[in-house]
């Protein structure tokens, strides 16, 4: 099953189980079913709760917040995550704040879905991974779709938090299979919501990567194993923030991989937490691997030069461990 099918099935399941759940977004209704077809079939089954909206990212996010205030659950699809910038005020200053700024907790069950990432030649305003800009908003949790976690569980967890959540979905991940790792690596769950891809032997380093770059990280892990006999353990957290991540005992080297362009990345926050908790155990600072500090160009040769890929990950890990 491909990721997009898993996500679509999860939405069908949730819409069916929760009669108070709405889904809103641009062009989400059938037969179109959303720009990336994630919402296919939903409006046909739940016509009164799946609504195509005008091109109004700000307002539809506010509508979701209003539904949440009234006791409903709501999912907003932002066609391209780049445009969630238009909903930044509703998310930061209203939805997230409402959870606590009225003195008593206000449950706000809403999820803003953001397809993100490049690699498809969509250009500078349709290819970004803006996760980092949403870190540290009180009352706002961040998740990223992973090939290693059923999205029904992810969505259920987000709504159970009773606070607004943003779900980032790497566009290139949609067509990838779920739960597939290349031999000899094995997949298991390190802790609730954190997938682990590893070998039996003690790893030389730990690689932390959200779902969107997991395949790139795994490709690097395979080539590092074959060409350099470097053993990596990959951890893929479903929740990016607040981050609940335990390093395997004995970890001495950590790499954080993400597609975000350079500067103030999610990895810097992860590194900070790891440095505080494991300073003495580490052989060196956590190494961040991300895309260049640049807009994301359209032309394939320029785009691939900017975006993080398996070869970059391979090189950085090799150079860091082998000097």
């Amino acid at each position: 099953m491909r990721v997009v099918e898993n996500l679509n099935a999860a939405l069908h399941e949730l819409m069916e189980r929760d009669p108070e759940l709405y889904l809103l977004g641009e062009d989400v209704v059938d037969p179109y079913g959303g720009a990336f077809k994630v919402t296919k079939g939903l409006s046909t089954r739940f016509p009164d709760r799946v609504l195509s909206t005008p091109i109004s990212e700000n307002a539809i996010t506010g509508v979701a917040a209003g539904l949440a205030l009234a006791g409903n659950s709501a999912i907003v699809e932002i066609m391209f995550g780049d445009f969630v910038t238009l909903a930044f005020d509703q998310l930061v200053n209203f939805a997230a704040k409402s959870v606590s700024m009225y003195g008593a907790p206000v449950p706000m069950r809403m999820v803003v879905r953001c397809p993100v990432g490049g690699g498809r030649g969509y250009g500078p305003t349709h290819s970004q991974s803006l996760q980092k800009h949403f870190i540290g908003v009180p009352g706002l949790a961040l998740y990223e779709v992973s090939p290693f976690r059923d999205n029904a569980a992810v969505l259920a967890e987000m709504f159970a938090r009773q606070e607004p959540c943003v779900l980032f979905e790497d566009k290139v991940l949609y067509t990838r299979p779920m739960n597939e790792v290349a031999a000899p690596f094995r997949l298991d769950e390190q802790s609730p919501g954190v997938a682990r891809v590893s070998l039996d032997e003690r790893p030389d380093c730990v690689v932390i990567a959200p779902g969107g770059v997991a395949h790139r990280a795994m490709a690097a892990m395979s080539s590092l194993l074959l060409e350099e006999e470097i053993v990596c353990t990959l951890l893929v957290p479903s929740r990016l923030y607040p981050l609940g991540l335990e390093l395997p005992p004995g970890t001495r080297r950590v790499f954080v991989v993400e597609e975000s362009t350079g500067g103030g990345t999610w990895g810097a926050e992860v590194a900070h937490q790891i440095h505080r908790a494991h300073w003495d155990a580490l052989d060196g600072p956590v190494t961040l691997v991300h895309s260049a500090d640049s807009v994301i160009p359209t032309a394939p040769h320029l785009e691939s030069a900017v975006l993080v890929d398996a070869s970059t990950i391979h090189r950085v890990i090799r150079e860091t461990l082998r000097g």
Binding site: Y22, D48, L51, T53, P54, S56, N58, A59, I60, T61, G62, V63, A64, A65, G66, L67, A68, L69, A70, G71, N72, A74, D89, Q90, N93, F94, K97, S98, S100, M101, Y102, G103, A104, V106
Partner: protein, 301 residues
């Protein structure tokens, strides 16, 4: 400001309950400015002096099941809805009994189906969401949003009006058009008219120039009933802001403020029915004084 002194002609103050509520809001706001003057309040506040009759009139048209969204200038909206000067003052002063535990303060208040926040324009899309909920689960109930004329600068207002009209949401937008936004006169902030802004989205519009509670209710009753059936409405009140935007930041010429004071319901009602007015005014001020004395003496929230 199109309020004309002719309005003063045939003055009939509202019944005791409405008049008392008007006077309570007036007393409350003046008490706040007094407390500020004496350095007993911190932060900021935006009084609704002169505009008290708007929420008082609206409350007569609203039902308990309706939702009310308010803004920075929301004390009157809250008092008209919940008759709770104590909880509000405690909130503003951060004392025990604060309706939002002192976290929200003057601009961020929530109680049951009443909610205010301090960022202009945010509340309209949110109210659309609540209205969408109501349309399906509590048909007949509506979401009422108070905004000012200056808030029509925000794009979110139009995104919301469009949704309300497209989806036939029970949304009632009450515009308190006091002709000014902080220091900016409406002529410098709004091209066209509020009526035109509503018409652009096929949303009904009523312009209310009266300051008389009963008259206003009569003028709006049908349109508000229609809102409950899914015909969104923009009710524009032409109303005077007698006080500063927040505290001591009024840059309008004295003559203009004098002109506004001349149409103030307070003076007109005092003159029209001195005896009843004085009695209710004394009662209202005494009650607010008592609340203030009590709240001021309380420990922090």
């Amino acid at each position: 400001m199109m309020v004309t002194t002719e309005a003063a002609a045939a003055v009939r103050p509202p019944g005791d309950e409405d008049l008392s509520l008007l006077l309570t809001i007036r007393a409350f706001e003046e008490k706040l400015l007094d407390l500020f003057g004496r350095g007993m309040l911190n932060g900021t506040t935006h009084t609704c002096l002169g505009q008290e009759y708007v929420p008082v009139a609206m409350e007569g048209l609203l039902e308990a099941r309706d939702h009310v969204f308010s803004n920075h200038r929301g004390h009157g909206h809250y008092l008209a809805r919940h008759r709770d000067p104590e909880g509000l003052l405690a909130e503003i002063m951060g004392r025990r009994g604060a309706v939002c535990a002192g976290v929200g303060g003057s601009q961020h208040i929530r109680r049951e189906r009443y909610l205010s926040t301090g960022v202009q324009g945010e509340s309209l899309p949110v109210a659309c969401g609540v209205a969408l909920h109501l349309r399906r689960t509590e048909p007949g109930a509506l979401a009422c949003v108070y905004i000012g004329d200056g808030t029509f600068g925000e794009g979110g207002v139009y995104e919301a009006l469009n949704l309300a009209a497209l989806w036939r949401l029970p949304l009632l937008v009450v515009v308190e058009n006091n002709g000014i936004a902080q220091s900016t006169p409406i002529a410098r902030s709004m091209a066209g008219s509020i009526a035109g802004r509503a018409a652009a989205f096929g949303v009904e519009h009523r312009r209310i120039e009266s300051m008389e509670v009963d008259e206003i209710r009569a003028q709006l009753a049908d349109a508000v009933r229609a809102v409950r059936e899914g015909a969104p409405l923009v009710a524009e009140f032409v109303t005077p802001r007698l006080g500063p935007h927040s505290k001591g930041d009024d840059t309008r010429p004295a003559e203009e403020i004098a002109r506004l004071r001349a149409v103030d319901w307070y003076a007109r009602y005092a003159e029209a029915e001195p005896e009843r007015f004085q009695r209710l005014d004394r009662e209202a001020r005494a009650a607010v004084d008592a609340v203030a004395e009590d709240v001021v003496a309380r420990e922090p929230s």
